[in-house]
Amino acid sequence: MTTLVVPSVGGRAVGATPKARRSWAWLGLFPFFAFLALFLIVPAISVFSKSLYDSKDHFGLTALRDAFRGQNLAAFKFSVWLSALSAAVGVVVGTLLAYAAATARRPRWLRSLVASFSGVAANLGGIPLAFAFIALLGRQGLATKILSALGVDLYGSGFQLDTTQGLTAAYSYFQIPLMVLITLPAIDGLKTSWRESAASLGGTSFTYWRRIGLPVLAPSLLGGFLLLFANAFSAYATARAMTTKSLIVPLRIGFYLRGDISTGEEQLGFSLAAWMIIIMAVCMGLYWILRKRAERWRS
């Protein structure tokens, strides 16, 4: 990153050599770099600088460690569990749906319908989506009513909208389509000839999937899981509209940032945000690597 910093070209003579001219061309990117620095990098760095000082202005890792205490620790656990669960549901159902769509011969429009719908639904989220699930699974919800007509008492069996079950149901609405978008090209990458070769060598369908299909898809599936995990982990609006409690990490950050609380408490919000960035960076980094691997089979 540091090797590409723009101002380093400043000292060169104007247009002296082709090399120098090329360096000057970097200056054309200055507005973009400056903009990004001002509105993305500076805020991100200030989160870290804040979280490295505790409430008494001592430099150290205390504040970052404090983010893992009490209710915040509970929020972390809940967030990780919720994100992992909704990512797992997304990966499994999304892959099955993508496979069903990719291999369907009839009707012809099915595949493009699934692809286009996924493109739209993966973008839904936030307030309207939360409302939709309140209308569906709330105490006065449509599904609650239909189920009770069928003799199933949803709320009697301990269901709540603001639990892992309720939130996973809502998150699945954008997680499954996102997974479809990720795996569809990967499934398209499975070549007919591989299956034929496997069959001609005496392999069953099971052998094909165990020895060829799944290993080829593995990086996409794993990458998809990471992406979906990150997606759920940083989601704020959907959960915010579905619960008044600060259950998950983003909601706790929001709680600290919005609240009229003492400065020491606000610090915790910044520490949590710092952890959020760290976790996202790890997930996205790994995703990036896996995506490169997955692309190997697509040519």
């Binding site: 054309g28 805020p43 493009s112 993966a122 973008n123 307030i127 449509l142 979906l228 704020y236 983003p250």
Partner: protein, 302 residues
């Protein structure tokens, strides 16, 4: 409006759509025994997913458009008392009009700033510093790593030093440009790569046109689809953004929607339904429009 929580996955689609023109998928060469089983499973998956994705919308439509309490809902009352009264009442609210106005202004501002900043940058990278490409691409996906809730924490940190700026509602614009960056840049970049920019520029410059004329008469007309796509997508992000606006207490449309729903359940639900319908229509049109051209453009933020 797209109510995107965050844009983490956005570039997944960049390649999801990129090779949709390629080979069709393998059809399993069916062993006859597995044939029937092999058909039941996909159909079941399709039907279940179909239900999962339509039921919430139906429930929402019923809740916002029918004035029958859930307890009285049955076969006899299923088609009674449907009306738009909840939505029209919401339209009459001062908060709704203010929220719509603010969100629209923010959307326009964000689109203008996005195009003003990114179009020259993307062209410049393409023409003069192709080496910078990978680095620029890396920068444009950074907003996934720093999701809205973390970004707004950063904004809170710098707020005491820039109160004059952040107190204004319009200060949201640059941050919204950042949120939309991953896919706006991609959309523009894909458009630029689809045409021969260098020849266009050389021809135009050779005929004596300045940079402004070249942009206006040669480049922008050829990049129309890419420009419209990124403008649409930017607008959908802005109109749905909740996290930053809520933490900074800005009264945007989604913010009003959330607040209104807690006191007027039906009206709030109706607004949310309208929002979903609007987004879906917008993105569907965009999908069809870009597909028809056969361009491998990312139409979704994912």
């Amino acid at each position: 409006m797209a109510f995107v929580e965050n844009s983490v996955g956005a570039y997944a689609t960049m390649y999801a759509f990129a090779d949709s023109e390629g080979d069709r998928p393998t059809t399993p060469t069916p062993a006859s025994r597995a044939k029937r089983f092999g058909r039941i499973v996909p159909v079941t998956i399709m039907v279940l997913c179909g239900l999962f994705f339509t039921l919430p919308l139906l429930a929402m439509a019923r809740f916002s458009l029918q004035n029958v309490p859930m307890i009285h809902l049955g076969w006899s009352t299923l088609f009674k008392k449907w009306s738009f009264s909840g939505i029209t009442r919401a339209f009459g609210e001062q908060g709704f009009r203010d929220g719509l106005k603010l969100s629209s202004v923010l959307a326009v501002g964000t689109v203008v700033l996005t195009l003003g900043l990114l179009l020259p940058t993307a062209l410049w990278v393409h023409l003069r510093v192709p080496k910078a490409r990978a680095f620029i691409e890396f920068l444009t996906v950074l907003p996934y790593v720093i999701p809205p809730i973390a970004l707004v924490a950063g904004i809170r940190v710098i707020k005491p030093h820039a109160r004059w700026f952040l107190n204004s509602d319009l200060s949201l614009i640059p941050f919204y440009v950042v949120l939309a960056l991953p896919f706006t840049f991609r959309a523009l970049d894909a458009g630029i790569r689809a045409i021969d920019v260098k020849t266009l520029v050389d021809a135009s410059r050779g005929l004596g046109a300045g940079w402004v004329t070249t942009m206006r008469r040669a480049l922008i007309p050829n990049l129309r689809t890419a420009i419209i796509s990124s403008a649409f997508l930017t607008a959908t992000v802005v109109l749905g953004e909740f996290t930053i606006a809520q933490v900074l207490l800005k009264r945007t449309l989604p913010q009003f929607m959330a607040e209104y729903q807690s006191r007027e359940g039906q009206g709030g639900m109706g607004l949310a339904l309208l929002a979903i319908v609007a987004t879906t229509t917008l993105l569907a049109i965009l999908t069809l429009a870009t597909r028809k051209r056969g361009q491998a453009q990312p139409i979704s933020r994912f």
